[in-house]
Protein backbone atom coordinates (compact mmCIF):
# COMPACT_ATOMS: atom_id res chain seq x y z
CA UNK A 1 0.00 0.00 0.00
CA UNK A 2 2.87 2.34 0.78
CA UNK A 3 3.93 1.80 -2.79
CA UNK A 4 1.16 4.11 -3.84
CA UNK A 5 2.34 7.07 -1.80
CA UNK A 6 3.96 9.55 -4.04
CA UNK A 7 1.82 8.46 -6.92
CA UNK A 8 -1.48 9.86 -5.70
CA UNK A 9 -1.22 13.12 -7.61
CA UNK A 10 -0.14 11.36 -10.81
CA UNK A 11 -3.20 9.14 -10.58
CA UNK A 12 -5.28 12.20 -9.88
CA UNK A 13 -4.12 13.94 -13.02
CA UNK A 14 -4.57 10.76 -14.98
CA UNK A 15 -8.11 10.48 -13.71
CA UNK A 16 -8.75 14.05 -14.74
CA UNK A 17 -7.71 13.16 -18.27
CA UNK A 18 -10.25 10.33 -18.18
CA UNK A 19 -12.96 12.73 -17.05
CA UNK A 20 -12.13 15.23 -19.81
CA UNK A 21 -12.13 12.41 -22.33
CA UNK A 22 -15.47 11.17 -21.08
CA UNK A 23 -17.22 14.50 -21.51
CA UNK A 24 -15.73 15.21 -24.92
CA UNK A 25 -16.64 11.74 -26.15
CA UNK A 26 -20.08 12.00 -24.55
CA UNK A 27 -20.85 15.21 -26.39
CA UNK A 28 -19.70 13.71 -29.69
CA UNK A 29 -21.60 10.48 -28.98
CA UNK A 30 -24.87 12.32 -28.51
CA UNK A 31 -24.16 14.26 -31.69
CA UNK A 32 -23.39 11.16 -33.75
CA UNK A 33 -26.30 9.30 -32.20
CA UNK A 34 -28.80 12.01 -33.04
CA UNK A 35 -27.48 12.43 -36.57
CA UNK A 36 -27.50 8.68 -37.08
CA UNK A 37 -31.01 8.31 -35.71
CA UNK A 38 -32.23 11.14 -37.90
CA UNK A 39 -30.61 9.54 -40.92
CA UNK A 40 -32.18 6.18 -40.15
CA UNK A 41 -35.61 7.66 -39.60
CA UNK A 42 -35.55 9.86 -42.68
CA UNK A 43 -37.15 8.93 -45.95
CA UNK A 44 -33.91 9.53 -47.83
CA UNK A 45 -32.59 6.19 -49.09
CA UNK A 46 -28.99 7.33 -49.19
CA UNK A 47 -29.10 8.56 -45.62
CA UNK A 48 -30.67 5.27 -44.53
CA UNK A 49 -27.98 3.21 -46.21
CA UNK A 50 -25.14 5.26 -44.82
CA UNK A 51 -26.62 5.16 -41.33
CA UNK A 52 -27.16 1.40 -41.58
CA UNK A 53 -23.61 0.89 -42.73
CA UNK A 54 -22.46 3.08 -39.88
CA UNK A 55 -24.22 1.04 -37.20
CA UNK A 56 -23.24 -2.30 -38.69
CA UNK A 57 -19.59 -1.38 -39.03
CA UNK A 58 -19.08 0.23 -35.68
CA UNK A 59 -21.06 -2.30 -33.68
CA UNK A 60 -19.35 -5.24 -35.31
CA UNK A 61 -15.72 -4.13 -35.15
CA UNK A 62 -13.51 -4.47 -32.09
CA UNK A 63 -13.14 -1.14 -30.35
CA UNK A 64 -9.39 -1.43 -30.19
CA UNK A 65 -9.23 -1.89 -33.92
CA UNK A 66 -11.24 1.26 -34.53
CA UNK A 67 -8.91 3.13 -32.20
CA UNK A 68 -5.80 1.84 -33.89
CA UNK A 69 -7.20 2.62 -37.29
CA UNK A 70 -8.11 6.17 -36.34
CA UNK A 71 -4.91 6.87 -34.54
CA UNK A 72 -2.46 5.47 -37.05
CA UNK A 73 -4.61 6.36 -40.01
CA UNK A 74 -4.95 9.97 -39.04
CA UNK A 75 -1.22 10.16 -38.28
CA UNK A 76 -0.40 8.84 -41.73
CA UNK A 77 -2.91 11.14 -43.40
CA UNK A 78 -1.73 14.13 -41.45
CA UNK A 79 1.88 13.29 -42.25
CA UNK A 80 1.08 13.00 -45.93
CA UNK A 81 -0.67 16.37 -45.88
CA UNK A 82 2.17 17.96 -43.96
CA UNK A 83 4.75 16.48 -46.31
CA UNK A 84 2.96 18.03 -49.21
CA UNK A 85 3.76 21.39 -47.67
CA UNK A 86 7.14 20.60 -46.21
CA UNK A 87 8.99 17.52 -47.51
CA UNK A 88 11.33 17.67 -44.56
CA UNK A 89 8.69 16.49 -42.10
CA UNK A 90 9.12 12.87 -41.19
CA UNK A 91 6.11 12.11 -39.09
CA UNK A 92 3.23 14.05 -37.66
CA UNK A 93 1.58 12.66 -34.63
CA UNK A 94 -2.13 13.03 -34.11
CA UNK A 95 -2.95 13.76 -30.50
CA UNK A 96 -4.24 10.51 -29.01
CA UNK A 97 -6.76 12.42 -26.90
CA UNK A 98 -8.64 13.59 -29.97
CA UNK A 99 -8.16 10.46 -32.05
CA UNK A 100 -9.36 8.47 -29.09
CA UNK A 101 -12.39 10.52 -28.17
CA UNK A 102 -13.48 10.74 -31.77
CA UNK A 103 -13.09 7.00 -32.32
CA UNK A 104 -14.92 6.07 -29.13
CA UNK A 105 -17.68 8.55 -29.88
CA UNK A 106 -18.14 6.94 -33.28
CA UNK A 107 -18.40 3.50 -31.68
CA UNK A 108 -20.77 4.36 -28.87
CA UNK A 109 -22.57 6.69 -31.26
CA UNK A 110 -23.54 3.70 -33.36
CA UNK A 111 -25.24 2.11 -30.33
CA UNK A 112 -26.76 5.45 -29.42
CA UNK A 113 -28.16 5.71 -32.95
CA UNK A 114 -30.22 2.59 -32.34
CA UNK A 115 -31.27 3.73 -28.90
CA UNK A 116 -32.33 7.19 -30.04
CA UNK A 117 -34.09 5.77 -33.06
CA UNK A 118 -36.08 3.41 -30.89
CA UNK A 119 -36.84 6.20 -28.46
CA UNK A 120 -38.07 8.55 -31.20
CA UNK A 121 -40.27 5.80 -32.55
CA UNK A 122 -41.61 5.26 -29.08
CA UNK A 123 -42.90 8.79 -28.73
CA UNK A 124 -46.67 8.80 -28.68
CA UNK A 125 -47.84 10.06 -32.06
CA UNK A 126 -50.85 11.54 -30.34
CA UNK A 127 -48.65 14.04 -28.55
CA UNK A 128 -47.16 15.24 -31.82
CA UNK A 129 -50.60 15.63 -33.34
CA UNK A 130 -51.75 17.60 -30.36
CA UNK A 131 -48.74 19.90 -30.64
CA UNK A 132 -49.42 20.49 -34.32
CA UNK A 133 -53.08 21.12 -33.65
CA UNK A 134 -52.08 23.70 -31.06
CA UNK A 135 -50.08 25.49 -33.73
CA UNK A 136 -46.54 24.72 -32.57
CA UNK A 137 -43.95 24.98 -35.32
CA UNK A 138 -41.90 21.98 -36.39
CA UNK A 139 -38.90 23.18 -34.48
CA UNK A 140 -40.86 23.97 -31.33
CA UNK A 141 -42.57 20.59 -31.52
CA UNK A 142 -39.23 18.92 -31.83
CA UNK A 143 -37.63 20.75 -28.94
CA UNK A 144 -40.54 20.96 -26.51
CA UNK A 145 -42.46 17.75 -27.20
CA UNK A 146 -40.33 15.20 -29.05
CA UNK A 147 -37.06 15.58 -27.22
CA UNK A 148 -38.43 15.43 -23.65
CA UNK A 149 -40.56 12.37 -24.45
CA UNK A 150 -37.74 10.65 -26.26
CA UNK A 151 -35.18 11.40 -23.57
CA UNK A 152 -37.28 9.57 -21.00
CA UNK A 153 -37.34 6.43 -23.13
CA UNK A 154 -33.70 6.65 -24.11
CA UNK A 155 -32.32 7.22 -20.64
CA UNK A 156 -32.01 3.66 -19.31
CA UNK A 157 -30.21 2.22 -22.35
CA UNK A 158 -28.22 5.41 -22.77
CA UNK A 159 -27.02 4.99 -19.21
CA UNK A 160 -25.51 1.71 -20.32
CA UNK A 161 -23.85 3.44 -23.25
CA UNK A 162 -22.26 5.89 -20.86
CA UNK A 163 -20.89 3.02 -18.83
CA UNK A 164 -19.43 1.48 -21.97
CA UNK A 165 -17.98 4.85 -22.84
CA UNK A 166 -16.12 5.31 -19.60
CA UNK A 167 -14.74 1.79 -19.81
CA UNK A 168 -13.62 2.18 -23.40
CA UNK A 169 -11.56 5.22 -22.46
CA UNK A 170 -9.09 2.78 -20.90
CA UNK A 171 -8.31 1.53 -24.38
CA UNK A 172 -6.90 4.87 -25.40
CA UNK A 173 -3.90 4.13 -23.23
CA UNK A 174 -2.93 1.66 -25.93
CA UNK A 175 -2.38 4.51 -28.33
CA UNK A 176 -0.35 6.39 -25.82
CA UNK A 177 -2.74 8.65 -24.00
CA UNK A 178 -1.32 9.65 -20.64
CA UNK A 179 -4.16 8.68 -18.39
CA UNK A 180 -4.39 6.24 -15.51
CA UNK A 181 -3.02 3.11 -17.19
CA UNK A 182 -0.03 5.10 -18.35
CA UNK A 183 0.56 6.31 -14.80
CA UNK A 184 0.25 2.73 -13.61
CA UNK A 185 2.90 1.57 -16.02
CA UNK A 186 5.30 4.21 -14.82
CA UNK A 187 4.54 3.42 -11.22
CA UNK A 188 5.17 -0.25 -11.86
CA UNK A 189 8.52 0.60 -13.37
CA UNK A 190 9.55 2.22 -10.12
CA UNK A 191 7.78 0.17 -7.51
CA UNK A 192 7.65 -3.24 -9.14
CA UNK A 193 4.08 -3.76 -7.94
CA UNK A 194 1.86 -4.33 -10.98
CA UNK A 195 -0.99 -5.87 -9.04
CA UNK A 196 -1.38 -2.96 -6.68
CA UNK A 197 -1.14 -0.39 -9.43
CA UNK A 198 -3.60 -2.01 -11.80
CA UNK A 199 -6.04 -2.70 -9.00
CA UNK A 200 -5.92 0.99 -8.25
CA UNK A 201 -6.75 1.78 -11.85
CA UNK A 202 -9.63 -0.67 -11.61
CA UNK A 203 -10.84 1.01 -8.45
CA UNK A 204 -10.74 4.42 -10.13
CA UNK A 205 -12.86 3.15 -13.00
CA UNK A 206 -15.22 1.41 -10.61
CA UNK A 207 -15.64 4.73 -8.90
CA UNK A 208 -16.47 6.42 -12.19
CA UNK A 209 -18.99 3.72 -13.16
CA UNK A 210 -20.65 4.05 -9.80
CA UNK A 211 -20.96 7.81 -10.19
CA UNK A 212 -22.46 7.35 -13.64
CA UNK A 213 -24.89 4.68 -12.44
CA UNK A 214 -26.05 6.84 -9.54
CA UNK A 215 -26.39 9.88 -11.80
CA UNK A 216 -28.50 7.92 -14.25
CA UNK A 217 -30.72 6.70 -11.39
CA UNK A 218 -31.29 10.28 -10.27
CA UNK A 219 -31.95 11.44 -13.83
CA UNK A 220 -34.41 8.59 -14.36
CA UNK A 221 -36.28 9.56 -11.24
CA UNK A 222 -36.37 13.16 -12.39
CA UNK A 223 -37.51 12.24 -15.87
CA UNK A 224 -40.32 10.11 -14.49
CA UNK A 225 -41.43 12.35 -11.67
CA UNK A 226 -44.70 13.11 -13.37
CA UNK A 227 -45.53 9.44 -13.37
CA UNK A 228 -45.28 9.02 -9.63
CA UNK A 229 -48.63 8.34 -8.03
CA UNK A 230 -49.75 11.31 -6.01
CA UNK A 231 -50.71 10.49 -2.47
Amino acid sequence: MEAITGWWDDYFWGSLVVVKLFFVALFLTVLFGLIGAAAKLSKNRVANTIANAYTVIFRGTPEILVLLLFYFGSAITLTAIAQAFDPEIKFVDFPPFWAGSFAIALIIGSYATETFRGAFLGVDAGQIEAARALGLSNLKTFVYVRIPAMWRLALPPFGNHMLSLIKDTALIAIIGLEETLFVAEQAIGTTGKPFTMYILVGAIYLGFSTIITLTVMVLEKYANRHLEIAE
Binding site: P62, L65, G73, G192, F195, V201
Partner: protein
Protein backbone atom coordinates in the same frame (compact mmCIF):
# COMPACT_ATOMS: atom_id res chain seq x y z
CA UNK B 1 -2.54 8.56 -51.28
CA UNK B 2 -2.55 5.22 -53.01
CA UNK B 3 -4.28 2.10 -51.82
CA UNK B 4 -1.83 -0.73 -51.85
CA UNK B 5 -4.01 -3.61 -53.01
CA UNK B 6 -1.07 -5.96 -53.31
CA UNK B 7 -0.35 -5.44 -49.66
CA UNK B 8 -3.92 -6.31 -48.74
CA UNK B 9 -3.83 -9.51 -50.75
CA UNK B 10 -0.56 -10.41 -49.14
CA UNK B 11 -1.63 -9.58 -45.61
CA UNK B 12 -5.04 -11.17 -45.40
CA UNK B 13 -3.79 -14.75 -45.29
CA UNK B 14 -1.27 -13.73 -42.65
CA UNK B 15 -3.99 -12.20 -40.50
CA UNK B 16 -6.23 -15.19 -41.05
CA UNK B 17 -3.53 -17.34 -39.51
CA UNK B 18 -4.52 -15.65 -36.31
CA UNK B 19 -8.15 -16.66 -36.66
CA UNK B 20 -7.43 -19.96 -34.98
CA UNK B 21 -6.32 -18.17 -31.87
CA UNK B 22 -9.22 -15.74 -32.09
CA UNK B 23 -11.72 -18.56 -32.31
CA UNK B 24 -10.05 -20.54 -29.55
CA UNK B 25 -10.25 -17.54 -27.26
CA UNK B 26 -13.86 -17.00 -28.25
CA UNK B 27 -15.14 -20.53 -27.76
CA UNK B 28 -13.17 -21.35 -24.67
CA UNK B 29 -14.13 -18.12 -22.93
CA UNK B 30 -17.73 -18.49 -24.03
CA UNK B 31 -17.96 -22.03 -22.68
CA UNK B 32 -16.28 -21.27 -19.37
CA UNK B 33 -18.03 -17.93 -19.06
CA UNK B 34 -21.47 -19.43 -19.63
CA UNK B 35 -20.79 -22.21 -17.13
CA UNK B 36 -19.70 -19.60 -14.61
CA UNK B 37 -22.80 -17.55 -15.44
CA UNK B 38 -25.08 -20.45 -14.57
CA UNK B 39 -23.35 -20.92 -11.23
CA UNK B 40 -23.54 -17.19 -10.52
CA UNK B 41 -27.21 -17.14 -11.49
CA UNK B 42 -28.11 -19.96 -9.14
CA UNK B 43 -26.22 -18.23 -6.35
CA UNK B 44 -27.88 -14.92 -7.13
CA UNK B 45 -31.43 -16.29 -7.06
CA UNK B 46 -30.82 -18.70 -4.21
CA UNK B 47 -32.41 -16.38 -1.68
CA UNK B 48 -29.48 -16.89 0.70
CA UNK B 49 -27.67 -13.65 1.36
CA UNK B 50 -24.28 -15.23 1.82
CA UNK B 51 -24.53 -16.52 -1.75
CA UNK B 52 -26.34 -13.69 -3.47
CA UNK B 53 -24.43 -10.76 -1.98
CA UNK B 54 -20.92 -11.91 -3.00
CA UNK B 55 -22.34 -12.68 -6.44
CA UNK B 56 -23.78 -9.19 -6.75
CA UNK B 57 -20.45 -7.69 -5.70
CA UNK B 58 -18.60 -9.83 -8.22
CA UNK B 59 -20.95 -8.81 -11.04
CA UNK B 60 -20.73 -5.17 -10.02
CA UNK B 61 -16.95 -5.19 -10.13
CA UNK B 62 -16.62 -7.04 -13.40
CA UNK B 63 -19.22 -4.96 -15.17
CA UNK B 64 -17.94 -1.71 -13.72
CA UNK B 65 -14.31 -1.93 -14.77
CA UNK B 66 -12.77 -1.99 -18.25
CA UNK B 67 -11.98 -5.43 -19.56
CA UNK B 68 -8.54 -4.23 -20.57
CA UNK B 69 -7.77 -3.44 -16.95
CA UNK B 70 -9.04 -6.87 -15.93
CA UNK B 71 -6.71 -8.46 -18.46
CA UNK B 72 -3.76 -6.42 -17.21
CA UNK B 73 -4.49 -7.26 -13.59
CA UNK B 74 -4.51 -10.96 -14.38
CA UNK B 75 -1.56 -11.02 -16.75
CA UNK B 76 0.75 -8.37 -15.30
CA UNK B 77 -0.58 -8.11 -11.80
CA UNK B 78 -1.08 -11.64 -10.50
CA UNK B 79 2.59 -12.65 -10.82
CA UNK B 80 3.31 -10.07 -8.15
CA UNK B 81 1.47 -12.19 -5.60
CA UNK B 82 3.48 -15.03 -4.10
CA UNK B 83 0.54 -17.31 -3.46
CA UNK B 84 -0.41 -17.14 -7.12
CA UNK B 85 3.03 -18.17 -8.26
CA UNK B 86 2.96 -21.07 -5.82
CA UNK B 87 -0.52 -22.25 -6.71
CA UNK B 88 -1.56 -25.01 -9.08
CA UNK B 89 -3.02 -22.45 -11.43
CA UNK B 90 0.34 -20.88 -12.10
CA UNK B 91 1.11 -22.76 -15.32
CA UNK B 92 -2.13 -21.35 -16.76
CA UNK B 93 -1.71 -17.87 -15.37
CA UNK B 94 1.87 -17.63 -16.51
CA UNK B 95 0.88 -17.85 -20.16
CA UNK B 96 -0.75 -14.94 -21.96
CA UNK B 97 -3.29 -17.31 -23.54
CA UNK B 98 -4.34 -18.66 -20.18
CA UNK B 99 -4.60 -15.18 -18.74
CA UNK B 100 -6.67 -13.97 -21.67
CA UNK B 101 -9.09 -16.88 -21.36
CA UNK B 102 -9.40 -16.42 -17.59
CA UNK B 103 -10.01 -12.69 -17.92
CA UNK B 104 -12.53 -13.03 -20.74
CA UNK B 105 -14.36 -15.88 -18.99
CA UNK B 106 -14.64 -14.04 -15.69
CA UNK B 107 -15.89 -10.96 -17.49
CA UNK B 108 -18.36 -12.74 -19.73
CA UNK B 109 -19.62 -14.78 -16.78
CA UNK B 110 -20.70 -11.60 -15.03
CA UNK B 111 -22.58 -10.22 -18.02
CA UNK B 112 -24.21 -13.48 -19.04
CA UNK B 113 -25.42 -14.23 -15.53
CA UNK B 114 -27.33 -10.96 -15.57
CA UNK B 115 -28.71 -11.83 -19.00
CA UNK B 116 -29.92 -15.20 -17.72
CA UNK B 117 -31.35 -13.53 -14.64
CA UNK B 118 -33.33 -11.22 -16.91
CA UNK B 119 -34.63 -14.28 -18.74
CA UNK B 120 -35.64 -15.98 -15.50
CA UNK B 121 -37.45 -12.85 -14.32
CA UNK B 122 -39.28 -12.75 -17.64
CA UNK B 123 -40.94 -16.11 -17.09
CA UNK B 124 -44.63 -15.62 -16.35
CA UNK B 125 -45.26 -16.24 -12.65
CA UNK B 126 -48.45 -18.08 -13.44
CA UNK B 127 -46.48 -20.85 -15.09
CA UNK B 128 -44.38 -21.63 -12.04
CA UNK B 129 -47.54 -21.40 -9.93
CA UNK B 130 -49.19 -23.96 -12.18
CA UNK B 131 -46.14 -26.16 -11.70
CA UNK B 132 -46.36 -25.71 -7.95
CA UNK B 133 -50.08 -26.50 -7.96
CA UNK B 134 -49.29 -29.73 -9.81
CA UNK B 135 -46.92 -30.69 -7.03
CA UNK B 136 -43.63 -30.08 -8.82
CA UNK B 137 -40.68 -29.39 -6.51
CA UNK B 138 -38.74 -26.13 -6.71
CA UNK B 139 -35.93 -27.89 -8.55
CA UNK B 140 -38.31 -29.52 -11.03
CA UNK B 141 -40.04 -26.22 -11.66
CA UNK B 142 -36.74 -24.53 -12.39
CA UNK B 143 -35.43 -27.24 -14.70
CA UNK B 144 -38.58 -28.11 -16.64
CA UNK B 145 -40.51 -24.86 -16.67
CA UNK B 146 -38.36 -21.81 -15.88
CA UNK B 147 -35.10 -22.73 -17.58
CA UNK B 148 -36.41 -23.64 -21.07
CA UNK B 149 -38.45 -20.47 -21.25
CA UNK B 150 -35.71 -18.29 -19.74
CA UNK B 151 -33.17 -19.56 -22.25
CA UNK B 152 -35.37 -18.61 -25.16
CA UNK B 153 -35.98 -15.17 -23.66
CA UNK B 154 -32.24 -14.67 -23.10
CA UNK B 155 -31.17 -15.51 -26.63
CA UNK B 156 -31.16 -12.01 -28.16
CA UNK B 157 -29.14 -10.49 -25.34
CA UNK B 158 -26.90 -13.55 -25.22
CA UNK B 159 -26.10 -13.29 -28.90
CA UNK B 160 -25.14 -9.66 -28.37
CA UNK B 161 -22.80 -10.73 -25.63
CA UNK B 162 -21.18 -13.33 -27.87
CA UNK B 163 -20.48 -10.57 -30.37
CA UNK B 164 -19.01 -8.41 -27.60
CA UNK B 165 -16.84 -11.31 -26.54
CA UNK B 166 -15.63 -11.78 -30.07
CA UNK B 167 -14.63 -8.14 -30.16
CA UNK B 168 -12.90 -8.40 -26.81
CA UNK B 169 -10.68 -11.21 -28.05
CA UNK B 170 -8.84 -8.53 -29.99
CA UNK B 171 -7.58 -7.19 -26.68
CA UNK B 172 -5.48 -10.30 -26.34
CA UNK B 173 -3.12 -8.57 -28.73
CA UNK B 174 -2.21 -6.17 -25.95
CA UNK B 175 -0.62 -8.96 -23.96
CA UNK B 176 1.56 -10.25 -26.80
CA UNK B 177 -0.85 -12.79 -28.23
CA UNK B 178 -0.78 -13.10 -31.99
CA UNK B 179 -4.45 -13.28 -32.77
CA UNK B 180 -5.66 -11.54 -35.90
CA UNK B 181 -5.32 -8.10 -34.36
CA UNK B 182 -1.90 -8.91 -32.99
CA UNK B 183 -0.66 -9.98 -36.40
CA UNK B 184 -2.21 -6.93 -38.01
CA UNK B 185 -0.43 -4.62 -35.61
CA UNK B 186 2.94 -6.16 -36.43
CA UNK B 187 2.29 -5.80 -40.15
CA UNK B 188 1.30 -2.16 -39.73
CA UNK B 189 4.39 -1.49 -37.65
CA UNK B 190 6.49 -2.76 -40.54
CA UNK B 191 4.62 -1.32 -43.47
CA UNK B 192 3.09 1.90 -42.16
CA UNK B 193 -0.10 1.06 -44.00
CA UNK B 194 -2.79 1.27 -41.33
CA UNK B 195 -5.68 1.91 -43.68
CA UNK B 196 -5.17 -1.13 -45.87
CA UNK B 197 -4.40 -3.54 -43.06
CA UNK B 198 -6.84 -2.40 -40.43
CA UNK B 199 -9.72 -1.96 -42.83
CA UNK B 200 -9.23 -5.45 -44.20
CA UNK B 201 -9.12 -6.74 -40.67
CA UNK B 202 -12.33 -4.87 -39.92
CA UNK B 203 -13.98 -6.67 -42.80
CA UNK B 204 -12.87 -10.02 -41.41
CA UNK B 205 -14.35 -9.18 -38.01
CA UNK B 206 -17.55 -7.98 -39.62
CA UNK B 207 -17.88 -11.30 -41.42
CA UNK B 208 -17.35 -13.09 -38.13
CA UNK B 209 -20.02 -10.92 -36.49
CA UNK B 210 -22.39 -11.66 -39.32
CA UNK B 211 -21.85 -15.41 -38.96
CA UNK B 212 -22.58 -15.21 -35.23
CA UNK B 213 -25.75 -13.18 -35.81
CA UNK B 214 -27.05 -15.55 -38.45
CA UNK B 215 -26.35 -18.58 -36.28
CA UNK B 216 -28.27 -17.12 -33.38
CA UNK B 217 -31.08 -16.03 -35.65
CA UNK B 218 -31.41 -19.64 -36.74
CA UNK B 219 -31.31 -20.91 -33.18
CA UNK B 220 -33.93 -18.39 -32.11
CA UNK B 221 -36.19 -19.40 -34.95
CA UNK B 222 -35.96 -23.05 -33.99
CA UNK B 223 -36.64 -22.38 -30.35
CA UNK B 224 -39.66 -20.21 -31.10
CA UNK B 225 -41.49 -22.71 -33.24
CA UNK B 226 -44.01 -23.27 -30.53
CA UNK B 227 -45.03 -19.68 -30.09
CA UNK B 228 -45.96 -18.97 -33.66
CA UNK B 229 -49.72 -19.26 -33.57
CA UNK B 230 -51.19 -21.36 -36.29
CA UNK B 231 -54.70 -21.77 -34.92
Amino acid sequence: MSFDVALIIDSIPKMLMGIGLTLQLLFLSLLLGTALAIILLLMRISGRWYLSVPTMVYIYIFRGTPILVQIFIIYYGLPQLDFVRDSIFWPILREPFGCAVVALSLNTGAYVSEIFRGGVLGVDRGLTEAGAALGLSVRHRFVYITAPIAIRLSLPAYSNDVISLQKSTALASTITLLDMTGIARTIVAETYAPYEIFISLMIIYLILTWVIQRSFGWIEKRMSRHIRSEA
